[in-house]
């Protein structure tokens, strides 16, 4: 049996990058520590790739081989894994997507949540380099800019929505759409009732015509 040096090298590089990010995120690392001792298998069919994820004291280990007990194995096509990476709610996508899960899925969901929510404490690490006060000033400025950007984005979205619905009347509002959908559903229900009534009438007419054709005696 031979081992692909390139695969192992790629995994080693990925593990290094992941652990470098985890080293800057103490809260995430602490959460990950709770999963220590568990091993998760990931198997993609197209392309055929297999990797084991083992949380440990240093962060995570990415392995090509594992011979012990696997806590949970998730398998599927490569495209399903790509869809999972792009999903906003990774835990939800993991459970409701096309991937097959075998073993302790609660531990797998916990791992997905921890890795999806890596929160890097930039200010703390910046303080080690440039000192507490400048790091705090930079942190406050960055947080302020982020908040302004978030508020501006929400405000812009609100105004554009108002313009499209109310001013330019380019698209119906949510309430109009909901009313229209309710009307369509009511119409569908009435049409179904009418259909039933017509069937009943049809059955009665058939019965009457059969009685008339029957020989009298």
């Amino acid at each position: 049996m031979s081992v692909s040096t390139l695969n192992v090298a790629a995994l080693a590089a990925l593990e290094r990058a992941l652990n470098a990010a985890l080293a800057l995120a103490p809260a995430t690392r602490e959460e990950l520590g709770k999963l220590r001792g568990k091993v998760f298998g990931i198997r993609a069919s197209v392309p055929a790739v297999g990797v084991y994820v083992a949380p440990d004291a240093a962060g995570v280990r990415l392995l090509t081989h594992h011979e012990g007990v696997t806590t949970c194995t998730v398998s599927g096509a490569g495209s399903d894994f790509v869809a999972l990476l792009g999903a906003g709610d990774k835990a939800g996508a993991l459970v409701n997507g096309n991937l097959r899960i075998e073993g302790d899925s609660s531990a797998l969901i916990a791992l997905a949540r921890v890795l999806a929510d890596i929160e890097i404490d930039w200010e703390r690490h910046l303080a080690l380099v440039i000192g507490d006060v400048p790091a705090h000033q930079i942190g406050r400025t960055v947080r302020g800019s982020a908040r302004w950007s978030r508020d501006a984005h929400a405000s812009l979205l609100r105004h554009v929505t108002e313009f499209v619905h109310e001013e330019a009347r380019l698209a119906p509002s949510r309430m109009e759409t909901a009313d229209f959908a309710a009307d369509v559903q009511a119409l569908a229900r009435r049409a179904a009732r009418l259909d039933n009534a017509l069937r009943r009438i049809g059955r009665r007419l058939d019965a009457l015509s059969a009685r008339e054709r029957a020989p009298r005696g």
């Binding site: 049996m1 031979s2 081992v3 040096t5 192992v8 090298a9 080693a12 220590r36 001792g37 440990d56 004291a57 240093a58 392995l63 090509t64 081989h65 594992h66 011979e67 012990g68």
Partner: protein, 251 residues
């Protein structure tokens, strides 16, 4: 008149009791530049080979690991992280210079709580029977005078169900790769050794000793003869190195 039995030292035949001293001389000469030379000679790939060895070891938290001929301690450092404070890692080497370099490196990196350093001959390991869950010997077995004795000694100190991993240079699986590898080993390697470690002879010995080492199948047979069970091997980088694995019966 009795004739002294001989063994190979690279391509030379030397008296058996001389080989350990000659190998000791090689490693005394390269100890301080050993890590740098490994990186230069292999283009850093030796780290990948060691990584796979650790994966195949299956070592878990709380276990006891013996790193025979552990030299500058690459495997021991990683094992110490994996076994944690509940486990124990013993780094052993027959060469005092190599062991000192390894010990200093590991202490400087803060890996001290669960590590021991033991100057020991792989043929006569000074440990109690059945005392380790896993034993590794990376790029060390080919320098041992009596490989069979070393394998038997390692089997003795292994716990039932425990495993031995031998990471060692082996035979390339393709002729073309073999020719390129020969050209590199005998053309480039000694020059690189002279340039970086100031010692071409030691690196010529390295290339020769690799050629004299048993190939994949022969080493597996040797392990089985020594008493190991379920022996197999994994080729890496086209068979330039192989990881042999064997278990002690009675898990």
């Amino acid at each position: 008149m009795s004739e002294r039995s001989t063994t190979h030292f690279g391509y030379r035949q030397v008296p058996e009791d001389e080989k350990a001293r000659l190998v000791g001389g090689v490693f005394d000469s390269v100890a301080t530049r050993y890590d740098l030379m490994n990186d230069l000679m292999s283009g850093g790939i030796h780290r990948i080979w060691k990584r796979v060895t650790i994966e195949l070891s299956g070592v878990r938290e709380g276990q006891r690991v013996l790193d025979v001929a552990g030299g500058t301690g690459d495997l021991s450092a990683r094992f110490a992280q994996i076994v944690g404070n509940a486990g124990r890692v013993v780094l052993s080497d027959i060469n005092e210079s190599m062991l000192r370099v390894g010990r200093d490196k590991l202490i400087d990196s803060g890996a001290v709580a669960n590590l021991e350093f033991v100057l020991a001959d792989a043929e006569q390991l000074p440990f109690a029977d059945r005392s380790f869950d896993c034993i590794t010997i990376a790029f060390g077995l080919r320098n041992v005078t009596h490989k069979e004795r070393a394998l038997e000694s390692m089997l003795r100190v292994l716990r039932p169900g425990g495993r031995l991993l031998v990471l060692e240079f082996s035979k390339p699986t393709s002729d073309l790769l073999g020719k390129l590898y020969d050209a590199y080993s005998f053309g480039v390697l000694p020059r690189l050794g002279k340039l970086v470690a100031g010692d071409a002879d030691s690196y010529r010995y390295l290339a020769e000793s690799i050629r004299m080492h048993p190939d994949q199948e022969a080493l597996r047979d040797m392990m089985e003869d020594a008493g190991f069970e379920r022996c197999d091997y994994h080729n890496m980088t086209g068979g330039i190195v192989a990881i042999h694995r064997g278990f002690r019966a009675g898990a």
